[in-house]
């Protein structure tokens, strides 16, 4: 089966690269710790964020309708998409109606999830991702490996080569300042030539019909202000009840994501400027299914900060692409099975259940518990491979029988002692590839106890 373990093993063939990736992301985790530590009552803020999200999800229909009503009153056009296909069709139709040939996009994991770029390109529309990281992966014909830092898997030197090829830059040996300036020049041209801008949505406010887009590069604003048409795409879970709740989430988001007190730009959109149009596409694409699963519904609390990804010791050592899903890391591993259980069956097992993701999560998603629960669902509905099933059934049989457990232990220890090393450490012994097995003692604790204490 082609899953996370195979991709992660491939990633680990270059240990120096793994160390570099791990160090880069751990630094972000440390910045998060420092910045979260400056907020008095950070833990209360997390609780508040979690509670607001739980309340919103319990009244989701009502808040979505309230949002729609207010947005319409503001002169915004609202569209509803049940799935990715409908979302892509709606966006394409709006663009066609406005005869858009060139579209600039700010970061949106939703459009990534829906596969919007290839869809539009097939319709002859030129799409430019304007978030620097996303532009880099777009030029490299890759997918983001992280939801906040899409090109975190790429070294400066690789970007240097990529820019030489696509932007005609000179060889700079990975000079970050030079490369950023060249990217800026390149993207400014794209903004000026664009006919329309598409953005994601970080928070949509039911009370006002307005929405907020957070970026560090100002690219959402550049696109929106340079073009007459703004399309904003949002998942149904992006809604918050009222303006006053925004403060809670804006304080949590950037601190958790990158260790900044706030994103450089928190852009508020409410009504179109004269001569402009704003369209909002509200997308379900499997979210209401997840809402209907009591054990997994709070995964919809997610505000896409990426803190669980940065802290995850497995993600840092396996890279975002190893997950094979738009959202990698712990949060992706509990969202992906809800989309396609069969395809993503290895993801809930790509964790030691260490729980760091839960403790770092600004909206307290119990990710480690959901990983455990998804494992049960996967074995129940998808089964496991033959050997694993056999081993587990046999183990269960032994664990329920104390006499057999004692006997099996004795035989096992003896076999381990007398079997030649080359057989014990055969290719089938995955544990023993790089690790020694414990040295088998002469007696078990139970044997010792019976002998000593009766």
């Amino acid at each position: 089966m082609n899953g996370h373990p195979q991709a992660a093993a491939a990633f680990n063939r270059d240990e120096a690269h793994v160390d570099w990736h791990d160090t880069a992301l751990w630094a972000v985790r440390q910045k998060r710790d420092t910045m979260a530590g400056t907020v008095r009552n950070w833990e209360s803020l997390r609780s508040l964020g979690s509670q607001i999200k739980a309340h919103t999800l319990s009244n989701l229909g009502q808040y979505l309708e309230q949002f729609e009503k207010n947005a319409l009153q503001n002169g915004v056009k609202v569209h509803w998409a049940a799935d990715a296909r409908e979302h892509n069709r709606i966006v394409c139709e709006i663009l066609k109606q406005h005869k858009v040939g060139k579209l600039v996009k700010s970061k949106s994991m939703l459009t990534e999830e829906c596969g919007l770029n290839p869809y539009l390109e097939a319709q002859g529309i030129e799409v430019t991702d304007t978030d620097l990281g996303e532009r880099i992966v777009q030029l490299a014909k890759e997918h983001p490996s992280h939801i906040v830092m899409p090109a975190i898997h790429k070294k400066r030197e690789e970007i240097d080569l990529l820019f030489q090829e696509h932007l005609g830059t000179r060889r700079s040996g990975g000079d970050a300042l030079y490369l950023t300036r060249e990217a800026r020049k390149h993207l400014r041209q794209r903004f000026l030539q664009a006919d329309a801008a598409l953005t994601g949505v970080n928070f949509a406010i039911a009370e006002t019909g307005g929405f907020v887009v957070c970026t560090n590069e100002g690219n959402a604003d550049m696109g929106v202000h340079a073009t007459p048409l703004h399309i904003a795409c949002m998942g149904i879970e992006k809604i918050i009840p009222a303006q006053e709740h925004l403060g809670v989430f804006l304080r949590l988001l950037a601190r958790s994501a990158t260790g900044q007190p706030i994103t450089t730009y928190s852009s508020h959109f409410r009504a179109p400027a004269p001569g402009q149009e704003i369209h909002i596409v509200i997308v379900d694409n499997g979210r209401s299914n997840q809402l209907g699963r009591p054990e997994f519904r709070n995964s919809l609390h997610c505000i896409r900060c990426g803190a669980c990804i940065n802290t995850c010791p497995v993600y840092r050592r396996s890279g975002g692409h190893s997950y094979g899903y738009t959202i990698p890391g712990p949060i992706g591993s509990i969202l992906a099975p809800g989309k396609d259980l069969h395809r993503h069956a290895s993801l809930p097992f790509a964790s030691t259940l260490c729980g760091s993701c839960h403790d770092v999560c600004p909206v307290k998603i119990d990710i480690h518990k959901q990983l455990f629960r998804w494992r049960q669902v996967i074995v129940r509905e998808e089964g496991a491979d033959f050997f694993k099933t056999l081993a587990m059934k046999a183990t269960a049989f032994v664990f329920a029988r104390p006499g057999l457990f004692a006997f099996g232990g004795k035989v096992g220890r003896l076999l381990l002692k007398i079997t030649p090393r080359f057989l014990v450490y055969s290719r089938l012994n995955s544990w023993g590839k790089q690790r020694e097995l414990p040295a088998p003692p002469g007696q078990s604790f139970t044997e010792w106890y019976k002998r000593e204490r009766g």
Partner: protein
């Protein structure tokens, strides 16, 4: 007060000295300790692999073995976490609830139930404490590095700090996972080994001679790496350190 000793399956089979140290330590502290002979396992290896349904009979056996004691004490945070949090799929009889509530990790039991703040022991070595995740974040034996604000100090650290001659080394990453993770260690061998070697480097870099933890499972993984790579590190379960006498040679 009747205390039952719960010795996790792999400790029973591979690390009897850890069980012996736990028993001796509790007895030294004047406790009446019993060992139900028919115990096997808490069922965690099955459940964490997705075979929770097959673990039910193991859960039932566990409850039968331990229901008649006031407390159940184990030298493991992970197995205790499993009993407390994952025995929720069997009918919650009075016996099941009792067993779930009264099963304790050793250090937690010493500090929070017996109210002991200092153990008379001597262990003159530089020790690195590996904070096993299920004890730390599952049982909250200490405050994890992700959480902010004043938290309670680790009960494990507190007990180790009282051991004569023992010097705790500070790690660069205070509580990163070692990569054991049960079947994860085998299914995700590459990442598991990398996580383990990174932990070992942290301990070595900061001058640890001995690595200890509440959980022998993490230590089994780390020990396997230490032995294969011939690293200058000793592995001791926290019970062994707390039970060490005046003259200790390791």
């Amino acid at each position: 007060m009747r205390i039952a000793l719960f010795i996790p399956c792999y400790i029973n089979q591979f690390y009897p000295q850890v069980g012996i140290a736990t028993l001796q330590l509790l007895e030294k502290l004047g406790q009446d300790v019993f060992y139900p002979h028919d115990q096997t396992c808490c069922g965690q290896p099955l459940a964490n692999s997705g075979f929770e349904g097959d673990a039910v009979r193991t859960y039932d056996l566990f409850v039968r073995n331990f229901q008649d004691y006031d407390y159940i004490v184990a030298p493991s945070g992970s197995c205790v976490y499993h009993v407390r949090h994952h025995f929720d799929i069997i009918p919650q009889s009075a016996e099941v609830s009792h067993v779930r509530e009264k099963t304790f990790e050793l250090c937690d039991f010493l500090v929070n139930i017996l109210k002991i703040d200092k153990i008379e022991a001597r262990f003159p070595h530089k020790v690195g404490l590996h904070q096993s995740c299920h004890g730390l974040r599952g049982l909250r034996l200490g405050q994890s590095s992700e959480l902010m604000g004043p938290g309670h100090a680790s009960v494990v650290r507190q007990l180790l700090a009282g051991v004569e001659g023992l010097e705790l080394v500070e790690l660069t990453r205070a509580d990163e996972c070692c990569g054991f993770g049960g079947t994860f260690a085998v299914a995700e061998e590459a990442v598991s080994v990398k996580m383990g070697t990174d932990r070992l480097s942290d301990h070595l870099k900061n001058g640890a001679e001995v690595i200890t933890a509440t959980d022998m499972s993490c230590l089994m993984h780390l020990e396997g790496l230490v032995r294969r790579r011939n690293l200058p590190l000793q592995i001791k379960h926290v019970a062994e350190i707390l039970n060490s006498k005046n003259k200790v040679s390791i």
